[in-house]
């Protein structure tokens, strides 16, 4: 049987691509990105590269896809009330300025000829820090719970650094209703500025850094951190789509094919947050970060195939985990709804 119809010609990259693979990548990243609140460039870029896209095209195509996918997830999260638009817009300012400074630092390192190894090891260092922070926060919260600590508004929490940071009293003070926090405007600006510098320096979208920063330093509930971060990823993704098209590194056809898969995946990932506990999301996020870190270390030592296998199996397993949460939760909700309706009919 002729399988030519399964391949699509990409006019700019000049390669034929297995399009069901694009749909599958879009779907998986939609599920994971919608659940964790990040773009997921670390998953898409190796996937596109394996399908046959040259690396530069994989990065550019990935960015435009992330913008569209984040838009789909933001629409859904917004209905749940998970997007703090005021906080997101304020943070965009800090993020953009930070990315610019981070990128200038990269150019300086490029002139010194040290860019590759420095960036990779800094990336590994920060991923390790995030993973340690997430897991020790969980351990601390469990310990506090065992010792019978009094639960606050968000239950028993591990690290509460944001409470100290909320005491900073530099005007203007702002109330972020959706997140339920009251703090100085300079706190989200500073946090986004610092995560922006890191994102620009590391050459990533920044969702991986911003999501935990929103939880631990600004104090947004996990679900709102996910939605607000996606809103930011959407804005920076659109900017990225523009600049990468100017450089001729985006294959728009592939973006649209991936978006069809992402549209379904994003619904599953986003709705799954409704049935997941905040700490469940944090732990799965920590595991993803850890696997991402190990794959970068493997790449650094030229173990390209094991790195790709690790990333792809992480994506597969996390996808199954999220889908299980979503389908179990949805089935329970529908069953309870049916029971309620039956009881009401009997009464």
């Amino acid at each position: 049987m002729d399988a030519a119809w399964l391949y699509m010609y990409m006019p700019i990259a000049g390669v034929k691509i297995f399009w069901p693979g694009l749909v599958l990548i879009g779907y998986s990243v939609g599920v994971i990105g919608g659940f964790f609140g990040m773009g997921g460039a670390w998953m898409v870029t190796p996937g596109l590269n394996i399908l046959g896209f040259p690396m530069a095209f994989a990065i550019g195509t990935d960015i435009a896809h992330i913008a569209g996918k984040s838009m789909i997830s933001t629409i859904r999260h917004s209905k749940f009330g998970n997007v703090d638009y005021k906080l997101g817009l304020i943070m965009v300012l800090g993020t953009m300025a930070g990315i610019e400074i981070g990128a200038q630092m990269i150019m300086w390192l490029e002139r010194l000829g040290q860019v590759g190894p420095v960036v990779r090891w800094v990336y590994v260092g920060f991923l390790m820090l995030i993973a340690i922070m997430v897991f020790s926060d969980y351990a601390k919260a469990r310990q506090k719970k065992k010792m019978g600590a009094e639960a606050g508004e968000k239950g028993v929490e591990g690290f509460t650094w944001y409470k100290t940071l909320h005491k900073i009293n530099i005007p203007p003070m702002m109330h972020f209703k959706t997140s339920g926090i009251y703090c100085s405007m300079w706190l989200p600006i500073s946090v986004s500025f610092l995560t922006g510098i890191l994102a620009g320096f590391l050459g990533i979208g920044g969702g991986l850094l911003r999501m935990p920063a929103l939880i631990y330093f600004i104090g947004t509930p996990t679900h709102v951190a996910v939605g607000t971060d996606l809103f930011e990823v959407m804005i920076s993704g659109l900017y990225g789509a523009f600049t990468y098209t100017l450089k001729g590194r985006i294959e728009l056809v592939a973006v649209f094919v991936m978006l069809t898969g992402a549209a379904i995946g994003a619904q599953i990932g986003t709705v799954a947050t409704k049935y997941a506990k905040g700490y469940g999301i944090r732990l799965a996020f920590g595991t993803a970060v850890l696997c991402c870190m190990i794959s970068i270390i493997l790449k650094q030592f030229k173990y390209e195939t094991p790195a790709a296998v690790l990333i792809l199996s992480t994506i597969g397993l996390i996808c199954i985990y999220i889908m299980t949460i979503m389908f179990k939760g949805a089935a329970n909700e529908l069953r309870e709804k049916k029971e309620r309706e039956a009881m009401a009919a009997r009464a």
């Binding site: 913008a67 709102v224 985006i250």
Partner: protein
């Protein structure tokens, strides 16, 4: 009108040159070669956009953003319409951390 369009194009191109070229470059650095779309093997709308990319890259970049937004919104609202028919409550959720 034409002058405004050209001025806008120049400003956008300058902005893109000045702002971080490396901001998203997680992988290897892209080489400075000019990539041209092969319009011989595509037809219809794909041919139109490939030609546009070859002749007016700024316009093509603007179209990339506009189409990404349009398709993102279309798919987002379409899936929203479908999901609402599943009977799930998609407008409220409890925030439970533990």
């Amino acid at each position: 009108m034409r002058r405004i369009y050209h001025l806008g194009k120049t400003l956008l191109a300058a902005l893109a040159m000045m702002l971080p070229a490396t901001a998203w470059a997680a992988g290897e650095k892209a080489t400075n070669i000019v990539v041209v779309a092969d319009t011989r093997r595509v037809t219809g709308i794909l041919k139109y956009f490939s030609n546009l990319y070859n002749t007016d890259v700024v316009m093509s970049a603007i179209w990339s953003v506009v189409l990404t937004v349009a398709i993102g919104c279309f798919l987002g609202f379409l899936m929203d319409f479908i999901m609402e028919r599943t009977g799930l409550d998609l407008k409220s959720r409890k925030i439970i951390e533990h």
